[in-house]
C-alpha cells in the first residue's frame, strides 16, 4: 500500500470515507513527517499536534456518523497570515510573534466546518512581502529540492510543506505571485483565484486590492476539491463577490478540443531561462495533442506591471500596516518615553527591513505632491493592463506562459538588491493587477529543479483553469514527483 503521505486529497478522501484509515491516523502520519522534516526546511512557525489530533477525532466521529463531506478528516496547513482562533498568527513578523488571534479567518472557518484538520501554520515572508521567504522573522524556508535554494515566497512554507509531503494541501495568499511563484519553484500546484472569489476576512492584509487567498496542493484536482469549500461570498468582506460556487470537480475531465490558448508574447523575453522556455514549449505540446489550438497574443502594457505593482502594493501596505502601533496588541517597545517614541521604536523594532522599505515607498507615493505622479498614474496603467487582458480574452480562452523566469535561486543570491528580487514576479503580477485567476502547475525540471507553467483565465474561469491543468496533469507526472529525500 502507498504511504499515507503519498496520497492526494482525492485519494485520502476516498480512504477516509471507506474507513480504510481514520482521520487520526492520517493526521498522525503527517504530523510525524512535519516533526521529522519541518525543522530542516523551517517550513513551520507553529505545529499544532494536540489541536490537530482533537480535530481529527471529531472528524472521525463525523465520518462514523455517516456524514458525506468530501473533506472531512483531510489534513491541511495554513499560511500564518490566516487568523486562527486561540493560536498564534504571526504573519512572519516580530510585530506579531506572540499574537494570538481571537477569531478564525473565513477561510479557516469554512475549511473547519468542512471537517478539514489543521496541522500547523506555515512560515512566510514577513507580512507576505518577499519572493524568497528570506524576509521572515522566523528565518528563511529551504527548498526541499535543494536546501541551499529558496522555496520562493511569500508562501514559501506552504509550498515547501506540500512539496515535501508534510501536508497534502496548504492555504496560501497571492498579492503579486506569492502562491504561484513558490509553487513553481517547489514543483507543486498553486492556485490564485479571481479577486473576490475567496473572502479576505481574517487574512492579514498586505495590499487589499491585490491580495487573494488560494491553495497550494499537489494537483489541480485537489485544488478544485478544496476551493469548493473555501470560496464564496462572505458578508464580512465587501470585496467578495456574490456569485454561486461551481462544482469545480465536475468539469475537470472536459475535453480540451477547441480550447484556444494564447501564448503570451511578452513572457518569452530575454529574462526567461532557456531551460524554462523549453519546458513550457513541451507542456504546450501536451495540450495541443489534446486538441487545443495555440496562437500568440500580445499584452503591450504588461511589461509595466512590475513598476505599477511596486507603487500600488506599497501604497496600500503603508496604510494597512499603520494599525501595528504597539498600542492594542502585538510588539511594543520597552519603556517608551512618550507617544512618538512608542510608535517609532515599536514599529522600528517590530518590522523588518523589507516591510519598512515598502512602508516608506508607499508613504512617499501617497504624499501630497507625489500622489498624481505615482499612485494615480499607477492606477491608470493598471486599468490599461486589465484592458489588455480583456482584449486577449476576446480571442483566446486562456493565456499560458512561464510562472517564473528561472528555477529556484540560491539563498542570499538576491537579497542585496531588492529590484532584482522584485523582477522575480514579472510574470505573475499581471494577474493580480487585473484580478484574474491563475494557476501554476509543475511542468518539468531544469537542472534538477522544478519549473512551473502558468495558466491565466478571465474572471471566475477557475473551472476552465482546473480543467486545463487537470488534463495536463493526467498526461504528465511532474506533479507526482517528490523531491529526493522526501519520497
Amino acid at each position: 500500500m502507498t504511504a499515507l503521505h503519498e496520497l492526494s486529497v482525492a485519494e485520502l478522501s476516498q480512504a477516509l470515507r471507506t474507513r480504510t484509515v481514520s482521520s487520526v491516523e492520517v493526521a498522525s502520519a503527517f504530523l510525524s513527517r512535519i516533526e521529522q522534516h519541518g525543522p530542516g526546511l523551517n517550513a513551520f512557525i507553529s505545529i499544532l499536534r494536540e489541536a490537530a489530533l482533537a480535530e481529527a477525532e471529531r472528524a472521525d466521529a463525523r465520518l462514523r456518523a455517516g456524514e458525506a463531506g468530501a473533506l472531512i478528516g483531510i489534513p491541511i496547513v495554513h499560511k500564518d497570515i490566516f487568523c486562527t482562533r486561540g493560536e498564534k498568527t504571526t504573519c512572519g513578523s516580530r510585530m506579531l510573534a506572540n499574537f494570538v488571534s481571537p477569531y478564525d479567518a473565513t477561510v479557516v472557518q469554512r475549511l473547519r466546518a468542512a471537517g478539514v484538520v489543521m496541522l500547523g501554520k506555515t512560515n512566510m515572508d514577513e507580512f507576505a512581502m518577499g519572493s524568497s521567504n528570506e524576509t521572515s522573522y522566523f528565518g528563511p524556508v529551504r527548498n526541499p529540492w535543494d536546501l541551499q535554494r529558496v522555496p520562493g515566497g511569500s508562501s514559501g512554507g506552504s509550498a515547501a510543506a506540500v512539496a515535501a509531503r508534510l501536508s497534502p494541501a496548504a492555504t496560501a495568499t497571492d498579492t503579486g505571485g506569492s502562491i504561484r511563484q513558490p509553487a513553481a519553484l517547489c514543483g507543486v500546484t498553486g492556485l490564485k483565484p479571481t479577486y473576490g472569489r475567496v473572502s479576505r476576512f481574517g487574512m492579514i492584509a498586505f495590499a487589499s486590492s491585490l491580495d487573494q487567498g488560494g491553495l497550494i496542493t499537489r494537483s489541480a484536482e485537489d485544488s478544485a476539491l478544496l476551493l469548493a469549500a473555501m470560496a464564496g461570498f462572505d458578508e464580512r468582506d465587501s470585496t467578495s463577490v456574490e456569485l454561486p460556487v461551481p462544482d469545480y470537480a465536475a468539469t475537470l475531465e472536459q475535453p480540451l478540443t477547441g480550447l484556444k490558448i494564447g501564448l503570451l508574447k511578452e513572457f518569452f523575453d530575454n529574462g526567461l531561462d532557456v531551460g524554462n522556455a523549453q519546458r513550457i514549449r513541451d507542456a504546450l505540446e501536451v495540450l495541443r495533442e489534446q486538441g487545443a489550438t495555440l496562437r500568440e497574443v500580445s499584452l503591450p502594457n504588461l511589461p509595466l506591471s512590475v513598476p505599477t505593482y511596486y507603487v500600488v502594493a506599497p501604497a496600500e501596505c503603508s496604510s494597512n500596516l499603520a494599525r501595528f502601533d504597539g498600542v492594542r496588541y502585538g510588539y511594543r517597545c520597552e519603556n517608551p518615553r512618550d507617544l512618538l517614541d512608542l510608535y517609532q521604536r515599536s514599529r522600528g523594532e517590530g518590522f523588518g527591513p523589507e516591510v519598512k522599505r515598502r512602508i516608506m515607498t508607499g508613504t512617499y507615493v501617497l504624499s501630497a505632491g507625489y500622489y498624481d505622479a505615482y499612485y494615480l498614474k499607477a492606477q491608470r496603467v493598471r486599468a490599461l493592463i486589465s484592458a489588455d487582458f480583456e482584449r486577449a480574452f476576446h480571442e483566446v480562452d486562456v493565456v499560458i506562459g512561464p510562472t517564473t523566469p528561472t528555477p529556484a535561486f540560491e539563498l542570499g543570491a538576491k537579497t542585496a538588491d531588492p529590484v532584482t528580487m522584485y523582477l522575480n514576479d514579472i510574470y505573475t503580477i499581471g494577474a493580480n493587477l487585473a484580478g484574474l485567476p491563475a494557476i501554476s502547475v509543475p511542468c518539468g525540471l531544469v537542472q534538477g529543479l522544478p519549473v512551473g507553467l502558468q495558466i491565466i483565465g478571465p474572471h471566475f474561469s477557475e473551472p476552465r483553469l482546473f480543467n486545463v491543468a487537470h488534463c495536463y496533469q493526467r498526461e504528465t507526472d511532474w506533479h507526482r514527483r517528490a523531491p529526493p529525500g522526501y519520497v
Binding site: 488571534s101 492579514i204 487589499s208 503603508s318 496604510s319 500596516l321 494599525r323 504624499s367 500622489y371 499612485y375
Partner: protein, 478 residues
Amino acid sequence: MDWETVIGLEIHAQLATRSKIFSGAATAYGAPPNAQADLIDLAYPGVLPVLNAEAVRMAVKFGLAINARVMRRSIFARKNYFYPDLPKGYQISQYELPIVCGGAVDIVLDDGATKRIGVTRAHLEEDAGKSLHEGLAGLTGVDLNRAGTPLIEIVSEPQLRSAREAVAYLKKVHTLVRYLGICDGNMQEGSFRCDANVSVRPRGAEKLGTRAELKNLNSFRFVEKAINYEVARQIELLSSGGQVVQETRLYDSDRGETRSMRSKEEANDYRYFPDPDLLPLELDQVYIDAVGATLPELPDQKAQRFITDYGLSAYDAGVLTASAEYADFYEVVVQDLGGHAKLAANTVNGELAGLLNRDGVEIGDSRVSAHNLAGLLKRVADSTISGKIAKDVLEAMWEEGAEADVIIEARGLRQITDESTIEHAIEAVMAANPKQLADYRAGKDKLFGFFVGQVMKATAGKANPARLNELLQKKLGG
C-alpha cells in the same frame, strides 16, 4: 478700517444608527470604556469594514432635505494619521467623491430677513475614539466606544458673515437633523459638534483673508463667543500691522479665548487614497426616490403651513417649528381645542415654555400634556376663567399633574360673570374709596385702572374682565 467677517462651518453630526458604520458594535452613549468596541473597531489584524446601510440612508435623507445632489457614486477614502484613539491608523471618510454635493439651508437673520447658506458637501465618515487624561495618574487612557460611530460632516460655503449668522445656521441644521431623525443633536455628548473656519477681510475685498480653524465648540453659546473672540483677535492683529497665521485654534471656554493648537506647517499630510476594502458606493434613482418618499414635513414647510393654516406670525411659527416635538405638541393642543390657534401659540411659546425652561424639561416630558393644556385653554375660550387665572391654573397643573377642570373647581376659580355679584363688589369698592371716586369723577381717568384692580382683588381675580369693564364704566360714570 471696516472689516468683514467670513465664516464657514464644518458640522459633525453623529448618525442615530444602532450599530457602527463599519462594524456591528452598538453606538449607545455612556457604556463603560471599550465595552462597545469589537474586533473591527479595535482594528485587529485581518478584519474588514462593511458599510452600514442605515447610515447611507440617513445621509441620503439629509441630502434630499437640503435640496442637494445625492451622488449616484461616491467613494470611501482613507485619511492616514497616527493617534491612539484611531486604531487603524487611518479614518475612513469620503474625500474626492462625497455622497452629498451642493444644497442650501435658509436662515432667518436678526432683522427678520431670510438668507440662503450654501452647503458645499456632506460626506459619510467614522468617528474616532476618545483619549482620556483625567484620573489616570499621568497616563492616557483610550476609550474606543465612539470609534466607528457614523458621522456626516456637513461643510458650508464661507457665506456666514457674523457669529450670529453662524449660530442661526448651526441651529437650523440642528433642527433639520432632528426632524429627519438622523441625529439626536446632543451637543454635550458630542453627537452634534462643529468647527468654524474664521477669517476677516477689508469690506469690499474679494480675496479671502487667512483663516483660523476653531475647534472644541460644543455649545451654541461657545460657537458665538469663540467666533467673536477670534474675529476681534484677527482684526486687532491686522490693524496693528500683523498677519493672521493659518492654523487650528482651540477654544477654551473657561478663559473665553482661542489659542493655537497647530500651524499649517505642523499639519498632517493625510495621504488620502480610495479605501480598497470598500467598493464605490453606488445608489440608483429608485433607491434615492424611495428614501425621498420617507422625508417628514421639514421645518420650513411646517412653519409656512402654521402661518397659512393657523394665522400665526412668522416669529411664532418659527419658534413652534424649531423642533418637531414642539410643533407636534402645539398641533395636538390646537386640534383638541378646535381652533384658537393664536391663544394656543401664545400659551405654548409663553407660559409653557417658561415652565419647561425653568425646570429644564424637554417638551416630550412636559408635566402638562398637550391634551390637558387644551383642556385648560378651553376654559379660557369659554370664559370660565380669565387668561390671568389660567396662568395660575397652569402652574398648579404643572405642580400637581391634575386636569384644569379639577383645579378650577377645587379652588373655586370659576370666573364670575353674574352681573349682580360684580355690581355688589363694585359698589363695595366705591364705598370704601370715596376720595378716589371723587378724583375720578373730577376727570382723573387714570384711576379707572385702580378700580379694576380693587374689584379684582375683592373677587380674587375671578371677575370676568369684560363684564367688569363694562359695569365699572357704567357705575363710575354715576
